[in-house]
């Protein structure tokens, strides 16, 4: 029998998450509403209420509490999930660190949305990318099917590495777009995702304290172990992607490499921009122009080896970031530069920032980026802004 195929269901991006959480047999869900992630928990609350889901749903009063409740459930040894966005994720910051340090494999869906001030509810990846050092596995997704599939895989990778995992998707372009999505059968998901059975958990039969004070050497060692597990998580993620593909007939490479065999210029991007870029890249190829694309699906652990394979042979790399680290520029561009710094004849890296706060990134935007990279031997600036009004360009 070939890979499993199922009829598609047209659902919103947020609901793709809810179905994934249901199929993953999540035991405890705690969440707080925020646009544009509210749909995730609304459907989950409904599923819990009508019996489609046997999870405990905790309607907490804040995102800090949402993640604290997930931590409590995870410390008992059960699967826990929350969803949020932007200010909600920022509000969780302390708990993000705590969950990773406590080795709690909570899974979180984050809808990438701009942070205030000023208020803006549209797409921008800075919310989750600015949490990149908290010890969470991070995935970025291009479409709703990838979101659903990735959530299920995230549980497996998180539980395998005892690290929490975040699955990110673009506000509105994904969260509120209805697309045909294949919802996998429960028994197949059960085959892919076994129950979570941690070696240590809160239990009155085996009383232990979790998270108590450690001295400097112990702390250093625990941090080194997190780093080790995080690096190993890439292998687990690759295995999960492969096995998921074998069962469900869909696979999402950690770094997707499109036409990279002979590409002189490689565009690097993530999220829904990758979908737009795909068509532009194909246009170039049709004209015989050697342009390729690398899509970053797994961002933490950063897949250095895959990025080197993807970009090592190119002459120029153009990174399009829908995020910004003020004073440093596009966040993915920094990581790409770091990945390439020790290879001989490293490609020249062009860093573009645009699409923040929900600004459209159209095929023309991508063409502008590619054309600039083709035209110039080196970038004129460390960071080049795309889509800025003329008067603010200096």
């Amino acid at each position: 029998m070939g890979p499993h195929r199922k009829p598609m269901k047209v659902i919103e991006g947020t609901h793709a998450i809810s179905y994934a959480v249901q199929r993953s047999r999540t035991a405890v869900i705690a969440a707080y509403p925020i646009t544009p992630s509210s749909g995730v928990v609304e459907l989950l609350a409904e599923m819990c209420a009508d019996g489609r889901l046997s999870s405990r749903f905790i309607a907490v009063e804040s995102e800090h509490s949402a993640l604290a409740a997930c931590a409590g459930a995870s410390q008992v040894g059960l699967r826990a999930f929350t969803a949020t966005s932007s200010h909600g994720l920022a509000y969780m910051h302390e708990m993000l660190h705590w969950c990773a340090g406590a080795r709690l494999p909570v899974v979180l869906a984050n809808v990438n949305r701009a942070l205030g001030a000023p208020w803006n509810i549209f797409v921008d990846q800075t919310d989750s990318l600015s949490q990149r050092d908290t010890g969470w596995i991070q995935y970025y997704c291009e479409d709703s099917q990838e979101v659903l599939d990735t959530i299920i895989q995230a549980f497996r990778v998180a539980e395998g590495s005892l690290l929490p995992a975040m699955v990110c998707l673009d506000a509105f372009f994904l969260s509120h777009t209805s697309e045909p999505v294949s919802i996998p059968d429960q028994d197949l998901v059960d085959r892919f995702l076994p129950p979570y059975t941690p070696a240590y958990a809160l239990s009155v039969d085996d009383p232990r304290a979790f998270g108590g004070m450690v001295a400097a050497e112990g702390y250093l060692e625990l941090r080194a172990r997190i780093e080790h597990s995080m690096r190993r998580a890439q292998q687990l993620a690759a295995e999960a992607a492969r096995e998921y593909g074998a069962i469900f007939g869909r696979s999402h490479p950690l770094v997707e490499m499109l036409h990279l065999d002979d590409a002189e210029i490689v565009l690097v991007t993530s999220g829904t921009v990758a979908g737009t870029a795909r068509t532009v890249i194909e246009e170039y190829r049709a004209q015989g122009i050697h342009v390729g694309m690398a899509k970053i699906h797994l961002f933490r652990p950063f897949p250095f080896d895959l990025v080197r394979i993807a970009l090592g042979r190119a002459r120029k790399v153009a990174v399009f970031d829908r995020n910004i680290s003020f004073g440093c520029g596009g966040i993915m561009a920094s990581e790409i530069r770091a990945a390439l710094c020790n290879i001989r004849k490293a490609p020249t890296v062009f860093s573009f920032v645009g699409g923040l706060g929900g600004c459209d990134v159209t095929p023309d935007t991508i063409r502008e980026v590619v054309e600039y990279t083709r035209r110039c031997d080196a970038p004129e600036q460390d960071t080049m802004w795309v889509g800025l009004p003329e008067e603010s360009r200096q």
Partner: protein, 296 residues
């Protein structure tokens, strides 16, 4: 021989070798609480002295499972533990959030209020030493009027009354609210045993003397805590919905100054007769209020 009926269980759940200071009320509070609650208890402890008292990993004095959690999150983390146990079908284990006054009155009140409003099936015990002791005696909203702390120095003593958290919790219409102190262990144990039998959010406000923070000799800790009750500074009550408040222990009244003089943190207050009069009046008014609630 005569049969003596001890109301306090003899099982010592908490181990010796904890890291509390000599005379620490919080350490004794835990020892008594675990006698009352028994071994089928899971503790959730936010940042506070007890994050240290329990001992450095891998040691743990508590003797029951204990989850450390960030400062503001005790009630939320406890809700998650509860949800997970319920999911597993274990509705019997007591989930006990154990937090200081800072983690309860201040940074943790949002999560606590929310858990109480949801009527989470948890027992929340606030051991109150009336300041942030872990970080070196800074004021909290549980610090009493007129007290010295490092952030309410001599020249600017605490000029606002202690937040009335028991009242706030009663206003949430939870099934059980009580105050207790280590100086009346029978009362404390009886209240926690009662609380353990009730479902829903139970809140116990437990006065725990802190010798270094209150500037008292460690051997005076029990005496001072007893005086807190006798001077009506800390009335011992029990509140269940639909019933008048119950004053559980009302010792013969002692003079407020005896309580204040026993503690270095009130030295500056005692030098200021006007401020002292204000403190006396505030305590009197609150006592009136509580006795009225108890006689309704």
């Amino acid at each position: 021989m005569q049969n003596v009926n001890f109301s306090i269980p003899s099982d010592e759940v908490m181990a010796a070798g904890h890291l509390g200071c000599a005379g620490c009320g919080a350490a004794l509070a835990m020892r008594l609480a675990l006698k009352a609650l028994g071994r089928r208890t899971i503790l959730v402890v936010p940042a506070c002295c007890w994050s240290v008292i329990d001992g450095p990993a891998p040691y743990s004095a508590a003797g029951v499972p204990l989850m450390h959690t960030p400062f503001a999150s005790a009630a939320a983390a406890a809700s998650g533990v509860r949800a997970a146990l319920d999911f597993k079908g274990d509705t019997e284990t007591t989930v006990c959030a154990w937090a200081g006054d800072g983690g309860t009155f201040d940074i943790g009140i949002q999560a606590l209020s929310a858990a109480a409003e949801r009527n989470e099936n948890i027992l929340y015990i606030c051991y109150d030493n009336e300041a942030y002791m872990n970080t070196g005696v800074q004021r909290s909203s549980a610090t009493p009027l007129g007290a010295w702390t490092t952030t309410t120095p001599r020249a600017h003593l605490k000029d606002r009354p202690k937040k009335d958290l028991a009242q706030i919790m009663v206003a949430h219409e939870v099934p059980y609210v009580a105050t207790a102190t280590v100086a009346y262990p029978d009362d404390l144990v009886a209240k926690l045993q009662r609380a353990a039998q009730i479902r829903g959010t139970r809140f116990v406000h437990l006065l725990a003397p802190c010798p270094p923070g209150w500037k008292i000799p460690s051997e005076d800790a029990m005496k001072v805590a007893r005086l807190a009750v006798a001077t009506r500074v800390f009335p011992l009550v029990e509140v269940e919905p639909g019933r008048p408040w119950r004053l559980t222990v009302v010792p013969p009244e002692a003079d407020l100054e005896e309580y204040l003089r026993a503690q270095g943190r009130f030295r500056a207050l005692l030098d200021d007769p006007a401020a002292l009069a204000r403190v006396r009046a505030a305590i009197g008014e609150r006592w009136q209020r509580i006795t009225r609630l108890a006689h309704d």
